[in-house]
Symmetry: C2
Subunit: 578 residues, 2 copies
């Protein structure tokens, strides 16, 4: 039995709903985007009662599918004004799926402005006051909740940034150890959760069960294929477990696409000191853990635990994007300082990409100098204090840039560009420009064939072929995000056709119907179509599908590259949508 | 001889250009919008070198046309992202016109970030360092400049807000007394001037001359017609000179359209204390001046000088919009406090509408309570200090609202709605929604027939007829703004056909060709068409031509009105544009 819970925060009522035929074969991003597109007025204010927050495990989540534990959360974004889905690892999705929950939909807004917590278990959903949690960071919040509900529960929570309804606020999801280290980071969805007056959702899977596929043999065969492919691929089988996502730092720096000091250069002189290789050594020296899984059933294990010099736990990872955002983009080469900022971001509940990029813009504005790690930490501390400056930091690069008169703001649709300079990696530039959710590398990771030699090879410095590449990847990604699979399965999928066969067999096995690659990609196409339609109704037009002008006018060293994919070409990315 | 000066602030060079046939018969907004649309990349950052600031007197400015002294300034707006024209009274336009200057175009941006002043006289334009002026408010800036250049010069300058490149920064123009009281207020054009590194433009008309019409008799006959109509109309002949623009406070409050406490109510209990009638008495009691002209040749004289209790000059007016923004919209009923804030706005160089509306949003966010005049003044003081909070106040309601998690932000395209609630005055709501420049009452003043019984009568509470009304007014206004006439001539034009005849005769007389009403309105249509085209290329679509959602969902007392002009109707406003 699959169920959708609608939690009305205006009158504190709960309604139970069957997904029906319409939503029976979707989940994750496919479900969140379909529901937001169908139910949220596109022009509403993202923090108004009319917006909804849809929390949905992926289609395959809870089936035992390898790397299938992603949790999608969707809403109209307060950061971008577009539709938004952001997904996270951790235990949240698995716990929800074990309870047979297709989605929890937060609707309305408490008239009294009070803060609540939701308790979700086999009895359903209960709304309770969150008085003891108000104003706490994510670490203390989930610490208290696990203390009260036991360490088997998963928590989905917001920190101070979400409570303050900041546009860079994330939603934290607890990992295997019950730490709030995994985040639906992008697009400010934590602010939407904050606007609904929900501080935390405790999901107790006790008494729940694994989803039983209709055709268990086909499912199992598929799972095995994917598993084998993941183990065999050098990225998912070796690179990611050993060095984590930050294995990319040296690679992207060497390619001249590692954005440095607010996207002024493409190579950072301090890369070695913050690279995945150095991080690997530091972690092991201090007794931290590499090859750590962020949720049960992850076979890639790109996570790690980072300890300080005294061997005390600081944070997970940190991930490639986080290291870049607080590192190269700010001219900072101090891994310990970066780890501390990662911990602060997770605790306040901030998207690490947006937070770091915003500090980069603040540095360009002269608030603190580039390279000043202590100054960057102080800026972040302001967020916790709720000062005007802290609110600017937590509102993202575009807002801080505006308040400080900046003109080089590295955002698309209000969201900061991640750790690949679009001038030197043009395929990802197409994705940044055209993604339905603002600048986002995960929406269509063209870096793989542009730089990594995965999924073929497309010259990163030439405009040719990037649009087709990005289009195909955006479709495939929307399918992956709907399936609830970790995006990193794509490395195997791109190079090994048995991986994709495996995914289709798992889906076919689950539903008990034949499931082709076309069926699979149709999920992605339909999802993108719904998202594009929402955005058009919200006021987005082709001219919004553009990179910031400086990417077209300022040459990026060392390749002296500009972004030169023609506007007319960018407008062809979604040529499959009506 | 008419001339366009192009001032390149990147290499500090000046180029002199003839307007050519293309620009021979236009001026003011018609010229600024045509040049911006032709020369500025619509997707550029408004503070980037690619943007241009075009400063142009109206077509009739300098001819002796009554009320013909408006100065248009245009650019891509850092506040709205749209094309923008903002016009002002004062002596600036007359001084430029006397020198035969069609436009001064500020281009590029100083690489060294230094600050300059321009000296404009019969010799042309000179660029000089502005070292002694950096960081000063407008009053001190123009005080120094008039001390140096004499009291015959006109100054066009920015205060601290413009230097900081704040999105609510205005451009000040000196009045007849040489005070920086007249402002191109809206759209943050002061930030564009700041980004060009130009602190002030000194215009010395010495040696210049009045424009000589080709057909002086026709021109004179037209001027006389307009003059007579202005004197005869009760608004321009009596109401405005006696009570100033703030004569509207009681009228709009009585109509239930006076936005109170951040647009929560339509009537303010403190209106009487801040009304134009009370203001009239206070001004005369203290020895201030009513019926004051903001520039030579103004026959309406709606300006006034406001003194404090000790008889010391504080500020001009203050105007209706300013009194509302810092008064009713903030729940403040203290005319002296409002006058002090008006003076601060003028000195820092802030749009008084945006500044007041932003304080209203800050009050709703709980930064200071509604009605707290001292708190409001303190917020404004932060602007001068350049603190993070001050920068938020100077960045406008949308940015401050975002940083404080607000969801009732009274803006369209990022610009605050002025002093008429669109739910109770629906014609002006159509103008706010669809204007090419964000929420702006002057773009199509439907209040006249909606509330004032001028230009016929259209029920303000019904959706019917508002689109046609707004369309016609937006066209007529774009023509008036191009002619360089004060918008207030429209009161006479709407009720007395001889006024419009007079305008056409002045234009025909000036050019020495027959000039029909159709010719006149064609200027407005062409201007709007160019503006719409620019905005579309900048990413604006029909879904951007909407009021904030709360206007459609929250009923406004006392009429319990919502804004219910259908979206499909709004999309018909510009049906005359390709």
């Amino acid at each position: 039995m699959a169920v959708i819970y609608r939690v009305n925060m205006s009158d504190l009522s709960i309604r139970t709903e069957m997904p029906g035929v319409k939503y029976a074969q979707t989940g994750g991003r496919g479900l969140t985007s379909a529901m937001i597109a169908a139910e949220v007025p596109p022009t509403c204010h993202a923090l108004a009662a009319e917006n909804k927050l849809v929390i949905a495990p992926g289609i395959l989540t809870g089936t035992g599918a390898p790397c299938g534990g992603r949790l999608s959360i969707g809403a109209k974004s307060p950061l971008t004004g577009t539709i938004k889905e952001s997904n996270s690892g951790g235990q949240g999705a698995l716990a929800l799926a074990a309870l047979g929950i297709k989605a929890i939909v937060l609707e309305g807004r408490p008239a009294d402005g009070k803060c609540y917590r939701l308790i979700v278990n086999t009895d359903g959903v209960k709304i309770e006051p969150a008085d003891g949690l108000v104003g706490l960071g994510n670490y203390e919040t989930v610490g208290k909740l696990l203390g009260e509900f036991g360490d088997k529960v998963a928590c989905i929570s917001i920190g101070q940034a979400g409570e303050m309804k900041m546009a860079a606020a994330s939603i934290a999801v607890t990992d295997v150890e019950g730490r709030p280290t995994r985040h639906c980071g992008r697009g400010g969805l934590g602010a939407v959760m904050g606007s609904k007056g929900v501080k935390a959702i405790v999901v107790d899977p006790e008494g729940g069960q694994r989803l039983i596929p209709a055709d268990a043999d086909t499912f199992k065969a598929g799972a095995k294929k994917l598993n084998t492919a993941l183990k065999a691929h050098p990225v998912t089988g070796e690179g990611l477990p050993k060095f984590g996502t930050n294995v990319l730092a040296n690679v992207i720096n060497a390619a001249g696409g590692y954005p440095t000091r607010n996207f002024r250069e493409g190579q950072f002189e301090g890369t070695e000191a913050i690279s995945g290789e150095r991080q690997h050594d530091v972690i092991l020296e201090r007794g931290g853990q590499i090859a750590h899984a962020c949720h049960k059933g992850c076979t890639i294990k790109c996570s790690r635990t980072y300890l300080d010099k005294d061997g005390q736990y600081v944070t997970k990872g940190p991930e490639y994007e986080t290291v870049w955002a607080h590192g190269a983009d700010c001219g900072i080469d101090d891994l310990d300082a970066i780890a501390r900022m990662d911990r602060m971001d997770d605790d306040f509940g901030l998207d690490t990409i947006e937070a770091g990029a915003t500090i980069g813009v603040a540095m360009e504005a002269g608030i603190v100098p580039f390279g000043d790690a202590a100054g960057a930490i102080k800026l972040l501390e302001e967020v916790g204090k709720g000062t005007a400056l802290g609110r600017l930091v937590a509102s993202g690069a575009e807002v801080l840039g505006k308040a400080y008169g900046g003109s080089r703001i590295p955002t698309v649709k209000g969201q900061s560009m991640p750790a690949y300079d679009p001038r030197a990696v043009k395929g990802i530039g197409v994705t940044y420009a055209t993604s339905t959710m603002g600048a986002d590398h995960t929406a269509g990771y063209a870096v793989a064939p542009n730089v990594l030699g995965v999924g073929g090879s497309v010259d990163p410095l030439k405009p040719e072929g990037q649009v087709e590449l990005s289009r195909n990847m955006q479709i495939a990604t929307a399918s992956i995000d709907s399936a609830g699979l970790c995006l990193f399965v794509a490395f195997a999928v791109l190079d090994d056709s048995t991986a994709l066969d495996g995914i289709c067999e798992m889906l076919g096995g689950l539903f008990g119907t034949p499931f082709t690659v076309d069926d699979y990609l149709a999920i992605g196409r339909a999802t993108l179509a719904a998202e594009r339609k929402f955005n058009a109704a919200a006021g987005f037009s082709p001219a919004d599908d553009r990179l910031p002008d400086f990417c077209k006018t300022e040459k990026l060293a060392p390749h002296d590259a500009i972004f030169d994919v023609a506007d007319e070409e960018l407008d062809q990315v979604f040529d499959f949508v009506e």
